[in-house]
Amino acid sequence: MNEDVVIEARGLYKIFGADPRKAFPLLEEGLSKEDILEKTGCVVAINDANFEVRRGEMFVVMGLSGSGKSTVIRCLNRLIDPTRGQVLIAGEDIMKMSDEELRAVRRQKLSMVFQHFGLLPQRTVLGNVEFGLEISDVSADERRRKAQEALELVGLAGYEASMPSELSGGMQQRVGLARALANDPEVLLMDEAFSALDPLIRTQMQDELLALQEKMHKTVVFITHDLDEALKIGDRIVIMGPGGTIRQIGTPEEILTEPADDYVEAFVENVDRTKVITASSIMRKADPLVIPKDGPSVALRRMEKSGAATVFVTDHDRVLQGIVKIDDAVKARKEKSLEKILLEDEVYTVWPETPVNELLGRAMTCRYPMAVVDREGRLLGLLERSTILAEVAVDSDQVQSLSDLQDELSDDGPVSEEVRP
């Protein structure tokens, strides 16, 4: 048993209908969902699903309507009983659990967020967030404290006494999220959690979920029908096809670059790659100078070797200090230290997960390569303008106009200013 696997589904089937057993032989013969419906009156919702969800990952189940994705998530906490197969939560088969054991798992390990929020209309925001704790007989004081913490986490502090109907859709879903987090579960099950929100709010909620996830490291199973959403938030993605079959499981890049079959390929065809390809996946190794150890002569040699006109400078902990230009290094050849020629304020820094399409604007106005840094300021790599443009050019029909723009800019590039992402 792998320690890092939180949820595992083995040979999972769900068939709706009066006598699901009749459908199995037909499934084995390879009949389609439509034929089986006609012959037996049974609807095949999940057809032999096998997957595992690892601790701390965002696991996205993506499929169009009718692909059985909502049924899959409901099988994980047995809101729907699978017809056949196993679901293991932390190694325990929930199919074999008594009602009591199942409730204990639902209370402690799994929390769910719903598409239409599923809030209790007659309760206040606080009352809703307390709901899961109340069910588990947590004392009133502790309930309040935990609910309060969860509300602060989702940015709803101050709305405790509001009624759900007084809130916008986005805020209602934050309440739903807070309710799920208040139990401090291992796994969050999110069923099309952002699909009912308008596009702007949806994007915002996705960003906030990612930011929250960075703090909490929950295991999240996220259902969506929106490929862009799946690619944005998923660490790994399951693509489900019609008839409830799994077509491919992989990282967003794997799905995009190596689609498993024609179905997945047709699916990802129209995706804007620049939204998915991140800075970290196209950055180059930086090989920086280290202060106070290295001086101008080391800098010159390094630039000679790499053929670049600039080189990044870090301290011993790889924390970015600035950039040195070749002409400054030539002038300061005689000096011992880089101190005088170190440009501290002229470096563009980006996060590793920033998508390429967001870098495009900066690539146009930036004179030096961009530095990819983590949250502690450590240099992870560098990004050159040409790399970014090449990435965009792969599937953009604006290539021509972009390279024209680049030519224009390289004549007299504007002075870059420090922009921290």
Partner: protein, 286 residues
């Protein structure tokens, strides 16, 4: 008729005989049960009557107006002041309070039976398929017909009046409790279960509160039906305003008929507005 029904057994069948046999059987075999039930109803009724008739009428009016003000607002409160004083002025106060006590008793018992029945039929298709036609029967059978078995089981007076009233007025609450619970959005029920709630916790903490406005609408209907039936029950000596109406009819006493009629209308408006306001208050919260 015989020519239209060629089959002999159909010709011989007598629906009236059937009910006579059933009622007679119930009367002989379940007498202790009916006696106990009668005593319980009598006891409840006497208590409510005492609470309404022992204090001075002015005290009761103040309380009733206060309730109207709190729930339904100042317009209904003002209406209640004038309406209730008019009842006093018409010398109908005691009869009105008797009627109110009859309604109170029937409605309390009806709700105690109807709400669990409604919950049961919302949870079980089997239960619903039995209860639903029974409710149809109860609601469409002419109100006067209830009076016959009620009198057989409980003799004349207030107790059979209450029994006939509660049977007649029960169906809307059963129906709307059932409907209200069935209409609770699926996601809300799923949310409750997904957090590990037991079926009982889901019912008490989620389904009933969400269905409450619908259930209250059913209770409002039950109260209004009880009011209309309690007047009809005057025919079997249930007392209150019904007796006055019957007297008005038999004696062709136009004044008495209208006075008791107006008192009924005032009570009806009061009860309707106050209970509707209760429903609206739970609705407003959401």
């Amino acid at each position: 008729m015989s020519a239209l029904l060629p089959l002999a057994f159909l010709d011989a069948m007598d629906v009236g005989d059937f009910f006579e046999v059933v009622i007679a059987w119930l009367e002989t075999n379940l007498e202790p049960f009916f006696d106990g039930l009668g005593a319980f109803i009598d006891w409840t009724l006497t208590g409510i009557e005492a609470a309404l008739m022992w204090p001075h009428w002015a005290v009761v009016i103040v309380v009733m107006v206060a309730i109207a003000w709190r729930t339904a607002g100042w317009r209904i409160a003002v209406f209640s002041v004038f309406g209730l004083l008019l009842i006093v002025q018409m010398n109908m106060w005691d009869e009105s309070m008797e009627t109110l006590a009859l309604i109170g008793t029937s409605v309390i018992i009806a709700l105690v039976v109807a709400i669990p029945l409604g919950i049961w039929s919302s949870k079980s298709e089997g239960a619903e398929s039995i209860i639903r036609p029974l409710l149809d029967f109860m609601q469409t059978l002419p109100a006067f017909v209830y009076l016959i078995p009620a009198v057989l089981f409980f003799q004349l007076g207030k107790v059979p009046g209450v029994v006939a009233t509660l049977i007649f007025s029960m169906p809307p609450t059963v129906r709307l409790t059932n409907l209200g619970i069935r209409q609770v959005p699926k996601e809300i029920k799923e949310a409750s279960l997904s957090f590990g709630a037991t079926p009982r916790q889901t019912l008490v903490k989620v389904e009933l509160p969400v269905a409450l406005p619908t259930i209250l609408a059913g209770m409002n209907q039950t109260i209004m039906l009880a009011l209309s039936m309690v007047v009809i029950a005057g025919l079997i000596g249930a007392g209150g305003l019904g007796n006055q109406v019957v007297k008005g009819i038999t004696q062709l006493n136009i004044g008495l008929g209208f006075e008791s009629g107006i008192a009924i209308v005032i009570l009806a408006i009061y009860l309707d507005r106050v209970t509707q306001a209760l429903g609206a208050a739970t609705q407003r919260q959401r």
